[in-house]
């Protein structure tokens, strides 16, 4: 991949002055939103693009992750001269509530000075969006030039367009869905059960005194298994076959044991373990729950087209032919609903070998679509 100059960034924290109302009927006081910005907001505040991150993503979209030191998760898309051009746009990316990278979540301190743990309220995609809108309000931005997101980020884009339709001009939804299917919920439940079956989970009260980082404690084995199962759903069979096939890991023959004989096993174990260093298990429970609860049509009387009655935004939906987590049919359903609502909508299924994760990887046609749509 070509290297580009890294955009300069500023990390910020916003403490919401008012409690955040939640779909559960509860409200959350003392909400903190951690976010990064890139580029410069213009005088009439018309060049802001909100990027919404995915399940295990974070606000470090185009700058190094503070814990792992790895480059931002979308540096191939966001930066000077890139499709989401930081020379042209003011980019905002906030950590979703429920997560563990600075925004309020189960590892945050409750009023009694102890971490919330499972006392943290169950949140929804719309609750995450309410926090995003509170941030946009605080930045004094009336209308976003665009809102962009892949996977769970795409769900937030749809929810924002449906619930705050006058706050955006354009919505770009990549590899996403308007509702979680039974299969989607089933995979998430496997992950949650793996976490909760780990004795170290301890009903979510694993945050130890004197440990400054919740990611250093807890049900690491369970969280790793959850990540391994989920990771399979992000890849395609073709991608796994090309990358690993049945090749053995650092050995010439099978061991007739239960070591990671196969490369694919070794890879998944690594993915699982490295994930526990950067993610909080309780956050994983809360965010997967929010995704499972997502059904945009249900929120709007059962008809998806009705969800978009309050917006005039332009939409673009992109799916990938090898994505079986949120397959093309999901994007097409959304596109048809937007069409029925009379909104300007583009929809394209791009060909890429990487499965669901294609939105994060090298797909030149995606770059062209993103750049053209945002312009």
């Amino acid at each position: 991949m070509a290297t580009h100059a890294e955009p300069s960034t500023s990390g910020h924290v916003l403490d919401l002055p008012q409690p955040l109302p939640l779909d559960s009927g509860r409200s959350l006081a003392g909400v903190r939103v951690a976010y990064e910005t890139y580029g410069t907001l213009n005088a009439d505040k018309s060049n802001a693009i909100l990027i919404c991150h995915a399940l295990t993503g974070d606000q470090h979209v185009a700058s190094p992750h503070p814990i792992t030191g790895k480059p931002g998760w979308w540096i191939r898309m966001v930066g000077p001269g890139l499709p989401i051009d930081t020379d042209r746009y003011f980019i905002i990316c906030a950590n979703v509530i429920g997560s563990c990278m600075g925004s309020s979540g189960p590892a945050s301190m409750a009023d009694d000075g102890r971490p919330y743990g499972m006392r943290f309220p169950v949140i929804t995609i719309r609750d995450m969006v309410r926090a995003q809108i509170a941030l946009v309000d605080a930045l004094g931005i009336d209308k976003l030039h665009a809102v962009v997101g892949g996977s769970m980020g795409g769900m937030q884009v749809l929810s924002l367009a449906a619930n705050f339709g006058d706050r955006l001009n354009a919505a770009l939804v990549i590899a996403s869905t308007s509702r979680h299917s039974a299969q989607n919920i089933a995979f998430h439940e496997v992950g949650r059960q793996a976490i909760m079956a780990d004795p170290a989970w301890a009903n979510g009260e694993y945050y130890a005194d004197g440990v400054d980082d919740p990611r250093k404690v807890g049900p690491e084995a369970g969280l790793a298994v959850a990540r391994m199962a989920a990771h399979i759903t992000y890849l395609s069979e073709q991608g796994l076959t090309e990358k690993f096939g049945r090749r053995l890991q650092d050995r010439d023959a099978k061991t007739f044991g239960f070591d990671a004989d196969f490369q694919v096993e070794s890879y998944l174990r690594y993915q699982g373990l490295s994930f526990t260093d950067r993610f909080d298990a309780n956050s994983y429970l809360y965010i997967t729950r929010a995704m499972d609860y997502f059904d945009l049509a249900e929120e709007h009387g059962g008809k998806l087209a009705d969800a978009f009655a309050g917006t005039k935004a332009r939409f673009c939906l992109v799916s990938f032919d090898t994505d079986w987590l949120y397959p093309t049919s999901e994007s097409r359903t959304i596109a048809h609903a937007l069409n029925a609502a009379g909104l300007p909508v583009s929809f394209v299924e791009l060909s890429a070998p990487y499965g669901h994760d294609s939105f994060l990887l090298d797909v030149p046609e995606l770059d062209r679509v993103v750049e053209g749509f945002l312009r």
Partner: protein, 201 residues
């Protein structure tokens, strides 16, 4: 060439673009790489497209056009009745599985439609079939029979007969030969290509 679309549009597309008023809502079914959509957008129309080829769709979106990837045979059903002022089928009709149903959908979605297609009864096509006994390969029908996307060849007379049968009116018709407008008389023999402006009677 017309000042409104200086990019030298294909002649059938230029006729269509010239006869759609600024501000009209337009659906271009089978919009290709967006040549006509771009011209219509430039003259202030709310122009959107439907296109089956993903590379073409990506090219359209890349130039800022609103285009849906989809199939005219199946996806027109999702467009509400009367949702646009004009629906356009340019060089698309002969590629659909059920051209009659596509035409019905066209005039359900829009009160008026433009239909443009190559005329299989042009004298050169007739001669080729008569003399050579082979399916013709011409400028407008450039692909051999076994790989052509044109699965329903039709003639101008066929199209007029379908219109009569389905209660569709031809408000206007334009004919082209060698990329230039050609006369109305004996069009089914002399025209390589036809554009009809159709509506419900």
């Amino acid at each position: 060439m017309n000042a409104a679309h200086p990019g030298a549009l294909r002649p059938d597309l230029a006729v269509i673009a010239d006869h759609i008023e600024p501000g009209a809502r337009v659906l271009d079914i089978g919009c290709g790489d967006g040549e006509l959509l771009a011209a219509l957008t430039a003259k202030g129309c709310d122009a959107r497209g439907l296109e089956i080829d993903p590379a073409n769709v990506a090219a359209c979106v890349g130039r800022g056009l609103s285009v849906m990837q989809g199939d005219a045979d199946t996806d027109l059903a999702y467009y509400p009745d009367g949702s646009v002022d004009y629906a356009i089928l340019s060089q698309t009709l002969q590629t659909t599985r059920r051209p009659d149903l596509v035409i019905e959908n066209l005039l359900r979605i829009a009160p008026r439609g433009f239909v443009s297609f190559p005329n299989f009864a042009h004298w050169r096509v007739r001669t080729s079939l008569l003399v050579g006994g082979r399916m013709p390969v011409t400028k407008l029908i450039p692909v051999a029979w076994y790989e052509t996307p044109n699965i329903h060849h039709l003639t101008i007379a066929d199209f007029r007969a379908l219109m009569a049968e389905r209660g569709i009116r031809a408000e206007r018709a334009w004919f082209f030969t060698n990329g230039r407008a050609s006369r109305q008389r004996l069009a089914n023999f002399t025209a390589e290509h036809a554009v009809f402006l159709v509506s419900r009677t």
